[in-house]
């Protein structure tokens, strides 16, 4: 059990592209455990990515089943993902996101409605899952962290955009 400190922007590690995990060794197992412990300790959090605890490796965990809105939807419970990759995406939805690494700010972000993601799980088994709604949003947010993207890079609408009209 190791709860790590969650890095907060402008820590430059949050803007790095993380390296794939080539050998699934003890360190990788430990990293997944630290991610789970830190996510649980953060209480409100439904996911966390390795760079948020300072590990520049491609791993993230997501669990929407404990959140008020997430548990109303179908979900996969705790997902521990090594080298995750989104291989299909469909539709789009707007959601107001916040991030533990960017406290006290939220923004409207457009995400795919449903995704297919493949990864190695904690037992080194290849998983391919299809998911939508809340869980799909959480996965997209966490996977962005692995490429150095914060939701601030994805904010897609100022409310006034609704009123922008075509030039005549």
């Amino acid at each position: 059990m190791a709860v790590k400190q969650v890095l907060v922007y402008p820590d430059s590690r949050l803007k790095e592209i993380c390296a794939p995990i080539v050998s699934f060794d003890e360190a990788a197992e430990q990293l997944l455990q630290d991610l789970v412990d830190t996510m649980v300790d953060a209480g409100h959090s439904v996911g966390i990515a390795a760079p948020q605890i300072g590990a520049l490796r491609r791993a993230a965990v997501v669990d929407v089943s404990k959140s008020k809105l997430g548990k109303k939807q179908e979900n996969h419970g705790l997902l521990q993902m090594v080298n995750p990759e989104i291989i299909e995406k469909e539709g789009s939805q707007v959601v107001r996101e916040g991030c533990m690494s960017v406290p006290e700010y939220t923004g409207n972000v457009t995400r795919s409605e449903s995704i297919v993601v493949q990864f190695l799980d904690q037992n080194q088994q290849r998983q391919i899952i299809r998911t939508e709604g809340f869980e799909a949003i959480a996965i997209q947010h966490e996977l962005d962290h692995l490429d150095g993207f914060l939701f601030l890079d994805r904010v897609s609408s100022l409310k006034t955009d609704l009123f922008r009209r075509k030039q005549k």
């Binding site: 959090s45 959601v95 107001r96 609704l162 009209r165």
Partner: protein
């Protein structure tokens, strides 16, 4: 530190933000919060500012005179202590869209329905669109529902209002995900 609300408004043109923020920067001001937009042909800025060297409005003296000379209106409000801090609000956010043929009182009727029930409007935009023959009024608002108010209840109020005002109204919950 003493905070002030600064409001600036004037005919839109390129360079307003630059001129305003240059004055603030040169004068040693901090911008804590700001929002700017075009309304009609007017560019409007609202900023919460502070300056370690300034405690009262009188000390601004002529700082913003160059703006007034450029046909911008400047208004300064001195905030009460803590007035710069947004209060914590508990509850779920919802978005309400209202649109329909233009008629008097749309904004008021919707706002009254919410205000009477102690629902806080946190954001509001209205716009008259369409053409001269068929003006359409569009209103988008964001509101914070008190913890004990379910979104279905709001939908019911809005349904009644929709019949009464003969406009279209939709209510959606705005999902906020902390990740």
């Amino acid at each position: 530190m003493q905070h002030f609300a600064l409001t600036i408004i004037g005919r839109d043109r390129p360079g307003i933000v630059s001129q305003v923020t240059e004055i603030l920067f040169q004068g040693g001001f901090n911008i804590a919060d700001s929002s700017s937009s075009i309304l009609g042909g007017q560019f409007s800025m609202i900023l919460i500012i502070s300056n370690p060297k300034i405690a009262t409005q009188e000390e601004f003296s002529d700082a913003f005179k160059p703006l007034e000379e450029n046909n911008l209106s400047v208004f300064i409000r001195t905030l009460k202590p803590g007035g710069e801090i947004r209060p914590e609000q508990e509850g779920d956010l919802c978005m309400i869209s209202v649109y329909g043929a233009d008629k008097p009182g749309i904004v008021f009727q919707v706002a009254k329905e919410l205000g009477d029930r102690n629902i806080n409007i946190t954001d509001l935009n209205t716009k008259l669109v369409g053409d001269k023959q068929n003006p359409v009024y569009v209103m988008m608002l964001e509101a914070m529902l008190p913890v004990d108010t379910e979104i279905e209840v709001v939908e019911n109020w809005m349904e009644a209002l929709k019949q009464r005002l003969q406009v279209d109204i939709s209510v959606r919950s705005l999902v906020v995900m902390e990740l």
